[in-house]
Structure formats: structure tokens, C-alpha cells
């Protein structure tokens, strides 16, 4: 019983928070949630301590029959692909709750929903049964939708509905594919096994995998299914954006690796070249769109579209190095985008705007946001793949692993990496360099020629405690960038096994291993 606590802690915590008697203040509830999330984080680290990175398969398996007639069974397990993501989920949900200090409306519901999401994400990463995965995948939607539509910005209704429709379609496609798989194989048991698809013709495989691909492509999101993301981010509050970018998008890439590649290795290999091109387009599209943004948050959101494209590229190449790169990129993007959203959140909270046409000189040491600015420079440099930080090693592994398989898409993706530097440098130079300003400059004189005083900018100060999550994330980003060995060790066995799966499956199918 190592893994079930990862579901029980958040779910029971959510229950506990919603049943909290009386009318506790938001801060009290937040502290309660942090205790639960701290417990979850500690348990995740405990799981990590018991995790054997040398094994490529599922570990710590738990199994319990549930609704057998539907093929739904409660089966959990963890491997090198899901282990890092469990840690990211535990860490970032904690950060998200920590950053939710300004929530005053319905705190019990808010934090219960956060816990629910975290538990559901754990469940999805741990599920060893397709239907179970789907249940958790769907379970996380409702709370997130509520978090955007209740605690969001001015245009939240539109964004939340858009999110809902897109992800509902995503869910239907995934469910359809799972059911289809069961239907055509005639097996009620939805357990994960790649050999299943071997019995199918390539056409069937491609249809089922295509449905999964689009389903997860919406979640990741990949061009052209991404339009829900910038809107969702713009309207979501900072902690929700952290969760969305840092954790929830990873469900999509996880699904891509686990189910598209894992269940249909043949079809995946067949589609590889097209997927690589799709990845390159997504990378360039996200980067170019980001350049045109003037809302800092939208810029970071589009950069996510670009950066998740690397994962598709790596998955398409499916070499040991590229798949490890994909794991790295998922973790790295989680950390970096969480950091960037936190910092943009600080800027927005203190200045009341995220408009890059208006913000200037925030590095000002006394009246500006010097620490936020310094961390922002670190964050954007990490995102742009500067060595010494996590982004570089992830990108290097992805590119190095994919170059030989798909040279042109890889090179184009590297151009996208160069473009990341362009838009993020614009962000830093516009908002943080120059004379401090948080609104458009006034004219120097009135029409009658009388001088107008320069604006004296007064921003509220940011307590160091509020910056603590950003500092920790920055430290982690540098740590992974300088000492990538640990994370590599965690994922390597699994990703290597996954990369060898096509041959393995082919061997099993041809019967050469049986004899």
C-alpha cells in the first residue's frame, strides 16, 4: 500500500476541508490545505525513496477488482515515466496552494478543489487500467473548470466554457479510443498492454491511435487545438495557471507517451515523420505567436504551446535519449512555466497590468520589483535553454535524440528555441529595463505649454515569504540544470525500455521470443 495514500491523502483532505465546521477564514483553510499537501509531498518523496530506478516496468503495483463487468479495476503502479511527474504534481500543487494567499471567496471550496485536482492527477499518473485512467482524467476537469469560472478574471465565463468544451471533446475521443480498443479486441480487461494492438490491422490501429492523439493533443495542447489555453491562462488566477501549466498539461504528454506510443508502437512508428513535422509546426507556431503578444501571461501561455511541441518531437523520434528528453522536458517545463506564471502573477498583483506596452523598468531597486525581475531573468533564460539551467539539458536531450531520426523537424524546433529567446528577451527588456513606469507616459507639457510632472510610481512591496516558492523553483531549475544525473537515472530505465518497445513487440508478435 505505497501508492493508494497518494489518492487517499488529497481526496480525504478535500473531504475534510469541505466538511470543516463553522466558517474558517481563508488563511486557516489555506494552512489546512498546505498541511494536507505537505503530507502528500512527503509521501511522494517516500515513494521516491522506495522506488527502484533500475527497473523499467511498473513497481509497487496494487490491484483490486472493482466493476468487473465493465473491465474497470483499481490497479495502480509507478514507473520511471510517472515517478518524476508525481513529484512535480505534489510540489507544484503545494506551490499553487501557497500562492493562493489572496483567495477570499469560498475558501473551503477553492482549496478542496485544488486537492481534488491533485489527487485526480496522481490517480491518472498511477492508473494501470484504461478506464481508471479515464475516470481520473475526467475527474480533474470539473474542479479546474470551477476554479477558472468562479475565481477567474473578467472574461472567465468564456474562457471556462471554452476549456470545458475542448477538454470534454478530448475526453470523448480518449474514451472512444479506449472503448474501441476493447470492442475490436473483444477484451473486457482494460489493462495496459501493448501486445493488444498487435492483433489489429494497421488501419484500425491508426484510427484508434489518431483519436487518442487528438484527444491528448487538445490537452497538451498542440496546434491547432490550443486556442483554449491562452484564454484559460489569461482568465485563471495565478495559482490556477501554475497548476494548469505545470501539472495538467503534462497529463496530455503523459497520455501521449503512455497510450499512443505505449499501446500502438507500430502505428506510432508509422506516423512518426508526420508527428515530427507536426511538432515542429507547433513549436514554431507557439513561438511566433508568443512574439506578437503584449499580455505577459498570454506570452507565457503561447510559449507553453511551443515548448510542449518538443515533447511530441521527442516522442515521435522515440529513441532512448529523446524519450528521456521528453521526461526532462515535462519536468522542466513544469518548473519553469510555474515559475514564470508566479512571477507574472506578482507583476500583475502589484502593478495591476500585464501589458508589455505599458510596463517599464520594474528592475528599479527601491520602487520596482527587483527580486521578481532577477528571478524573471533566470526563468526566461532557463526557458530559452541557456546552459546551467534545466531547460538546456531537456532541449539538448530532445534534439540530440531526435536529430538522426528527423533532422529537419529537429532543426526547425531548434529555431523555435532561438525564438524563445526573442520573445522572452522582449518581455524582460520591455517590462524590466528602462525607467520605472506602470502606465503609458504622460505628455511632457499640456497643450498650453505647462510642464507635466513625471509620474511617481508607488507599488506595494512584495514580502519575501510570497517569493519563497519562486526562489525554490529557481533553485530547483538551476539544480536540475547543473546536476541532471539524478532525474536522468530516475527515468532512464523506463524510457529506454519504451524506446525498444517497437522491436520487442514485433518480436513477440512474430513469436521469436516465445520459442
Amino acid at each position: 500500500m505505497m501508492l493508494s495514500p497518494l489518492l487517499l491523502i488529497p481526496f480525504l483532505g478535500a473531504l475534510g476541508l469541505s466538511l470543516w465546521p463553522g466558517n474558517p477564514g481563508p488563511d486557516q483553510v489555506r494552512r489546512g490545505a498546505l498541511v494536507v499537501l505537505g503530507l502528500q509531498l512527503a509521501w511522494s518523496l517516500w515513494v521516491l525513496a522506495g522506488f527502484d530506478p533500475a527497473l523499467s516496468g511498473m513497481q509497487m503495483g496494487e490491484s483490486l477488482d472493482w466493476v468487473q463487468s465493465l473491465g474497470l479495476s483499481y490497479r495502480l503502479g509507478v514507473d520511471g515515466l510517472s515517478m518524476p511527474l508525481l513529484l512535480v504534481n505534489a510540489g507544484l500543487t503545494f506551490v499553487s496552494a501557497f500562492a493562493s494567499g489572496s483567495v477570499s471567496q469560498k475558501p473551503k471550496l477553492y482549496f478542496a478543489l485544488l486537492l481534488l485536482i491533485s489527487g485526480a492527477v496522481n490517480g491518472a499518473f498511477l492508473a494501470q487500467n484504461l478506464l481508471l485512467f479515464f475516470l481520473f482524467y475526467e475527474l480533474e476537469l470539473i474542479p479546474l473548470w470551477l476554479l477558472i469560472s468562479v475565481w477567474g478574471g473578467a472574461n472567465r465565463a468564456y474562457a471556462a466554457t471554452k476549456f470545458l468544451i475542448f477538454t470534454a471533446v478530448s475526453g470523448m475521443l480518449i474514451l472512444g479510443a479506449f472503448l474501441g480498443l476493447a470492442l475490436v479486441t473483444g477484451q473486457v480487461d482494460f489493462s495496459l498492454t501493448p501486445v493488444l494492438s498487435q492483433q489489429l490491422g494497421m488501419g484500425t490501429q491508426l484510427i484508434l491511435m489518431g483519436a487518442l492523439l487528438i484527444g491528448f493533443g487538445i490537452k497538451i495542447p498542440l496546434f491547432p487545438f490550443h486556442t483554449w489555453l491562452p484564454d484559460a491562462h489569461t482568465e485563471a488566477s495565478t495559482p490556477v495557471s501554475v497548476l494548469l501549466a505545470g501539472v495538467l498539461l503534462k497529463l496530455g504528454t503523459y497520455g501521449l507517451l503512455r497510450f499512443c506510443l505505449g499501446l500502438f508502437p507500430d502505428a506510432w512508428a508509422r506516423m512518426g515523420p508526420y508527428l515530427a513535422i507536426w511538432a515542429a509546426i507547433s513549436v514554431l507556431y507557439g513561438s511566433l505567436a508568443a512574439i506578437a503578444q503584449r499580455d505577459m501571461k498570454r506570452m507565457v501561455a503561447y510559449s507553453s504551446v511551443g515548448h510542449m511541441g518538443y515533447v511530441l518531437l521527442a516522442a515521435a523520434a522515440a529513441t532512448p535519449v529523446s524519450l528521456l528528453g521528453a521526461v526532462f522536458q515535462m519536468v522542466t517545463h513544469g518548473l519553469i512555466s510555474a515559475l514564470l506564471f508566479l512571477l507574472v502573477g506578482v507583476v500583475y498583483r502589484t502593478t495591476g497590468t500585464r501589458d508589455l506596452e505599458v510596463l517599464r523598468g520594474l528592475l528599479n531597486p527601491q520602487r520596482g520589483l527587483p527580486l521578481t525581475g532577477s528571478l524573471m531573468i533566470m526563468g526566461v533564460m532557463a526557458s530559452a535553454g541557456l546552459p546551467g539551467m534545466a531547460g538546456f539539458i531537456s532541449e539538448f536531450l530532445v534534439f540530440r535524440g531526435s536529430l538522426e531520426a528527423y533532422p529537419l523537424p529537429t532543426l526547425l524546433s531548434m529555431v523555435g528555441s532561438g525564438l524563445t529567446a526573442v520573445y522572452f528577451l522582449l518581455l524582460v527588456n520591455r517590462a524590466f529595463f528602462g525607467r520605472l513606469a506602470i502606465q503609458s507616459a504622460l505628455p511632457a507639457t499640456t497643450p498650453t505649454g505647462q510642464r507635466i510632472a513625471p509620474i511617481d510610481v508607488q507599488l506595494p512591496s512584495v514580502p519575501l515569504l510570497e517569493q519563497l516558492p519562486s526562489l525554490v523553483l529557481t533553485a530547483l531549475i538551476v539544480l536540475v540544470g547543473l546536476v541532471p544525473g539524478g532525474l536522468a537515472q530516475l527515468g532512464e530505465a523506463t524510457t529506454t525500455a519504451m524506446a525498444q518497445m517497437p522491436e520487442l513487440v514485433a518480436a513477440i508478435a512474430s513469436g521469436s521470443l516465445i520459442s
Binding site: 470551477l146 468564456y158 470545458l164 473486457v188 535519449v321 541557456l386 532561438g418 528602462g434 532512464e492
Partner: protein, 614 residues
């Protein structure tokens, strides 16, 4: 690691870390944790760390001269077929370059104590210089292309931060951006080459790469593309045409950083090129490109520098031109000549930039047309200028005289055209130096130079010290031990070198000195003046081409995103079950809608499951 290695070599990996440690040591002041006391301790700690790096480097150098070159290697990341190691190549050449870096960094930082004495953000500056120095020390002793790339990118970052040091100054904003992006273009191309090499050759150690390259397993096209990628990084770092723009703009940064940038940073870029040269040899195209870039940079940079009125820029462009000469030497397989030139240039150019810095500190002015008559009043500055000028041209037997002599001698037979490039660059440099000298140091004082006492001792001392080093350069060059000796050229060649310098100086003496931003009345002359003064309008060319292209594509993508993709989604939404009104439902209304949708979904799920397995 071999246990037999002497300790200073075993711990050679510490040398770059001394510089990097400066960042951590400066943090309490840079981050403002120490509020009541000023930031100077950060500067002192960085100076100490640099001194330590210098001393450690000297000891290591002595050991290597005794025991021969050594290599260190530490595993960094090993996954599947990818092995990334931190390899250090402790060869005499690399260690001499290391000593160059640390000693100039030490002098530059000392100079900074004086130049930035009224600067309260001193801690941040020294932290950045420490980072800068750490990255450079690493690059020069790196034994692996991966580590070189890793550190070159760190140099790019620290250049950005150093140029952006005065972040509130309007031109700094664009200068820092351009410095980063230009270098980044080179770096991304270099990364492509690095990734390709890693995939094709396996290991990233230079020695392994040489063996692999020599095995000739590469198609000509691949070799060419690889070569171009490898060239791109150093081209950006060494500010070569067409990626030279950033160096001009980087002059917005503080002078002590400019000293390092014009001397050792470009040297680091050139050393990386030198190290990848055996791989480049596989591609004749890459070699030709290198020669072309080098020649254009050498001549173009010299010409542009002559038209500059800004004192810093007048000499930053000559850095481009001298690195052009180094590129030519590397392309023509003359590594020892390239090294001599790099060394001679680095010390003399650092001294020249110090002299420029002290003129700026005294006069608050960089415009040479507003300066004059400093010569009689500033001995250290004037002396430094003259010694540096002598070190950079071939008139007196200081560093560059011997380099140009050797180059002319070798090239006269091998490639006379390039010998001419060397001599012309030398002549143009002499012209430029003489022109600026007449304008700034001779003549009558102008309003901004009416009162010009010599600079404070923290600036004067490193200038004097480095002047001595520049005077001793020939002796140091012989230590670099080029095979035939640095004086192995004929008197005729020596006469050509001296003659070209004298000719350049003479032309500058004969032309009138402009005392305000004067433009010729003759239209063609004015056109030429402007063309050179504005650096062939390179920034405008960039804006019209690549900047417009990228921003146009960005706007197009954004339009597609808003109008086509998002528009399609919105239209679809309007026609689907969820009507346009549905999108605007209130929160409570939405909840009901969702519960309904969810219910329907669950019913459909159960129904379909029953259908399938019923």
C-alpha cells in the same frame, strides 16, 4: 583521475569555479541583504577570487611546462548512448590563455574599482564579472566541445547582463537585447552543429572529434553544414561580419567590462574556433567562408572604425578587424600565428580600452570631436594609449609587429592576397590610432577638456602595469614558442610592415582634424563617410530583413491564431449545441449546464458499455 598528477593540476577544475564563486560571494550585497554597509567588500572578494584563479593557474602552468599536457575528465551525464563529460585539457597553450584571461580580468576589475568608484551597484557588477571570468576560464581550458558550448552560452548570458548593467538607460535596453540575440543566433547554429556532432561522433571530447573527423565518414554536404554551424558560434562571439553589430552596441556597458569584452571574450571565441579547426578542415566550403568572413571583417571593421566619432566605438570596431585577421590565420592553418596574434591583440587592446576609459572618466565625454589637448596633462593615460597603439601596429617592435611580420612572410608565398589584408589592416589601424591621438591628446583643450587631471590611482596603476606588460609582449610571445621563432621573417617583410604602419599614420597626419561632427561638403565623400560612420547601415539592413521577417511572421501567426483558428472555434461554438448565449451563461447557470452535460456523458458511457458488453 590519475592520482599521480600534482595537486594543482588535480584541482584545476577549481579555476573556473573561483570566478563563479564571485557570484555567490557578492550575493549578500547584490541582493541588498546588507543595507547599512556599502557594496565594496563584494568587489574585494571578487578580486581575491580572481587573484586565486591567477595564482592557481600560474602554478598549474608551471607544472604543465614541467610534466607536459594533462587532461582531466569527470562524468556529467550518461544516458543510453550519450556520454557527456566535463573534460579539461591542460595544455600549455590553454593555460597561457587561462593566465591571459585571469590576469586581464584581475587588472580590469582593479581598474573598475576606480572607474566605478561612484557606483553603488558595485556588487552586481562584480558578481557579473566573476561569472564572466569563470565562463571564460572554463572555455579556454575546456577539452570538450560540449563544455565549450555550455560555457560560451554562459558568456552570452553574462554579456547580456553586463551590457544591461545600466538597465534604466534607454540605449542599454536595445543594446543588451541586440547583444544577446546576435550572439544567440550564432549560438543556436552552433548548437545545431554540437547536437549533430554528438549524434554522429558520439563523444564530445575534442581529441575524439578530431579522430572521428579524420576518419572521413561524413558526406560533403553534411561536413559543410556542420562546418558552417561550428563557424557561426565564434563568428558571433568574435563580432565578425555580419554578426558584429552587438559589439558596437555593447559599448553602452561599463568600461571595465568593455576592456574584457574587447580583449579576452573575443579571444575565447577565437580559441573555440581554433579548437574545432581540425573538424572544419573536412569542408573546403567552410574554410572559404571563414576566409571571406575574416577578410570582410578585417577590412570592413578597419574602415568603419576610421569613420567613428565615438572613442569607444572607434576601437571596438578594430576588435572586429583584428579578429578577422585571426580568422584568416585559422582558416589558412596557421594556428600558432593565430595564437600569437590573439595574445598580442588582447593585452594591447585591453590597455587601449583602459586608456579610453580614463579619458571618459575625466571628461564625461566619448565624442572625440569634443576632446583635445589631454596629452600634456594625463601621463598614465597618454602613455597607455601610445604603448597600446604601438602594440597594435607594426611601427615599433612590440607584439603586433612580430605577428604581422610572421603573417606577411608566410602569406606572401602561400596567399599574397591575404598578406595584403594584413598590411592594409595594419595601415588602417595606424591611421585610426593617429587620427584619434591627434584629436584627443594633441591640439588645444576644448570646453570639456579644459580641466583634465589624471585619473585616480586605481585606474592609473593597472594602466601602468599593463603598459609594462605590453612593452614586454615580444618576450612573452617567444615563450609561446612558435616553431620557427617570432623573428623568422626577412628584413624586406619588416620594412613592409613598418612602411604600411608609417603610411597609415602619415595619411592621418595629413588629413585635417575635425573639431565638431564635420561632414564633407562633397556629396560622394559625405556618402562614404556616413556609410562607414553608420557601419554600412547594418542595423537598418537587419531591421529591414530579419527583424521584419520575424515580426511579420509573428504578426501573421497571431492573425491566423485569432482570426482563423480561434475564429473557427468560435463559429463552431455558435453553430453547435452550446449556442453563443451558452458561452455567456452566468456562473450558476454554467454549473447547471455542466452537471447536465456530465450526467448525459455518464449515461452515454454506461449505455455504450452495456451495448458493447451486453
Amino acid at each position: 583521475m590519475t592520482p599521480a598528477l600534482p595537486l594543482p593540476l588535480q584541482f584545476a577544475w577549481l579555476i573556473p569555479l573561483y570566478g563563479f564563486s564571485g557570484v555567490v560571494l557578492s550575493l549578500p550585497w547584490a541582493a541588498g541583504w546588507i543595507k547599512r554597509n556599502g557594496p565594496r567588500p563584494a568587489a574585494y572578494l571578487n578580486l581575491l577570487a580572481t587573484l586565486l584563479a591567477f595564482v592557481h593557474g600560474s602554478v598549474a602552468m608551471r607544472e604543465v611546462f614541467l610534466t607536459g599536457p594533462q587532461a582531466l575528465s569527470f562524468e556529467w551525464l550518461q544516458v543510453a548512448d550519450l556520454h557527456l563529460a566535463i573534460s579539461l585539457d591542460l595544455s600549455p597553450t590553454n593555460l597561457i590563455a587561462l593566465e591571459l584571461v585571469t590576469s586581464l580580468s584581475l587588472l580590469g576589475q582593479f581598474f573598475g574599482l576606480g572607474y566605478l568608484d561612484k557606483e553603488l551597484s558595485l556588487a552586481r557588477f562584480y558578481a557579473l564579472v566573476g561569472f564572466f571570468e569563470g565562463a571564460m576560464s572554463g572555455v579556454v581550458i575546456s577539452g570538450s566541445l560540449f563544455i565549450s558550448y555550455f560555457l560560451l552560452e554562459m558568456l552570452t548570458l553574462s554579456t547580456y547582463l553586463l551590457v544591461g548593467f545600466w538597465y534604466a538607460q534607454p540605449l542599454v535596453v536595445t543594446a543588451a537585447r541586440d547583444a544577446f540575440l546576435t550572439k544567440r543566433v550564432g549560438d543556436v547554429l552552433l548548437l545545431m552543429a554540437v547536437v549533430a556532432l554528438s549524434a554522429w561522433a558520439g563523444g564530445m571530447d575534442f581529441n575524439h572529434l578530431y579522430e572521428w573527423a579524420a576518419s572521413g565518414s561524413l558526406s560533403p554536404l553534411a561536413a559543410t553544414l556542420l562546418g558552417l554551424g561550428l563557424i557561426a558560434g565564434p563568428t558571433g562571439k568574435c563580432a565578425q561580419f555580419p554578426m558584429h553589430l552587438w559589439l558596437d552596441e555593447a559599448m553602452e556597458g561599463p568600461n571595465p567590462a568593455s576592456i574584457l569584452r574587447n580583449s579576452v571574450v573575443v579571444t575565447c571565441g577565437a580559441l573555440v574556433l581554433l579548437k574545432v579547426m581540425p573538424i572544419l578542415q573536412q569542408s573546403p566550403v567552410a574554410t572559404s567562408v571563414l576566409l571571406t568572413i575574416g577578410s570582410i571583417s578585417a577590412l570592413g571593421g578597419s574602415l568603419v572604425s576610421i569613420a567613428q566619432v565615438d572613442m569607444k566605438r572607434a576601437f571596438s570596431y578594430t576588435t572586429t578587424s583584428y579578429m578577422g585577421l585571426v580568422f584568416i590565420a585559422i582558416a589558412l592553418q596557421l594556428p600558432s600565428l593565430a595564437l600569437l596574434l590573439l595574445f598580442a591583440h588582447a593585452v594591447a587592446k585591453a590597455l587601449l580600452m583602459m586608456s579610453v576609459g580614463s579619458v571618459i572618466a575625466t571628461t564625461n565625454c566619448q565624442d572625440i570631436t569634443e576632446l583635445g589637448g589631454l596629452g600634456g596633462r594625463m601621463p598614465a593615460t597618454t602613455g597607455a594609449y601610445l604603448v597600446a597603439g604601438a602594440g597594435l601596429t607594426g611601427l615599433l617592435p612590440l607584439g603586433c609587429f612580430w605577428c604581422f611580420g610572421l603573417a606577411t612572410d608566410v602569406l606572401a608565398q602561400q596567399a599574397p592576397l591575404f598578406a595584403a589584408v594584413f598590411l592594409i589592416t595594419n595601415a588602417l589601424m595606424a591611421w585610426n590610432l593617429t587620427r584619434v591621438y591627434r584629436q584627443v591628446f594633441l591640439g588645444a583643450p576644448q570646453p570639456k577638456t579644459k580641466r583634465a587631471p589624471e585619473v585616480n590611482w586605481q585606474m592609473a596603476l593597472p594602466m601602468v602595469a599593463l603598459s609594462v606588460v605590453v612593452v614586454l609582449t615580444p618576450a612573452l610571445l617567444t615563450k609561446l614558442n612558435p616553431v620557427p621563432g617570432i623573428n623568422s621573417f626577412s628584413p624586406a617583410v619588416a620594412a613592409a610592415v613598418i612602411g604600411s604602419s608609417a603610411a597609415g599614420g602619415l595619411v592621418a597626419c595629413l588629413l585635417p582634424v575635425h573639431k565638431s561632427y564635420a561632414r564633407s561638403l562633397l556629396k560622394p565623400v559625405r556618402f562614404l563617410q556616413d556609410l562607414l560612420a553608420f557601419d554600412f547601415y547594418t542595423d537598418r539592413v537587419y531591421r529591414l530583413t530579419i527583424v521584419n521577417l520575424v515580426s511579420g511572421m509573428a504578426r501573421l501567426t497571431n492573425w491566423v491564431d485569432q482570426v482563423v483558428v480561434n475564429g473557427f472555434v468560435n463559429r463552431l461554438g455558435r453553430f453547435s449545441l452550446v449556442s453563443a448565449d451558452g458561452l455567456k451563461l452566468s456562473v450558476s447557470g454554467q454549473t447547471q449546464t455542466y452537471v447536465l452535460t456530465a450526467l448525459i456523458a455518464v449515461v452515454l458511457l454506461l449505455a455504450s458499455l452495456n451495448l458493447v458488453f451486453g
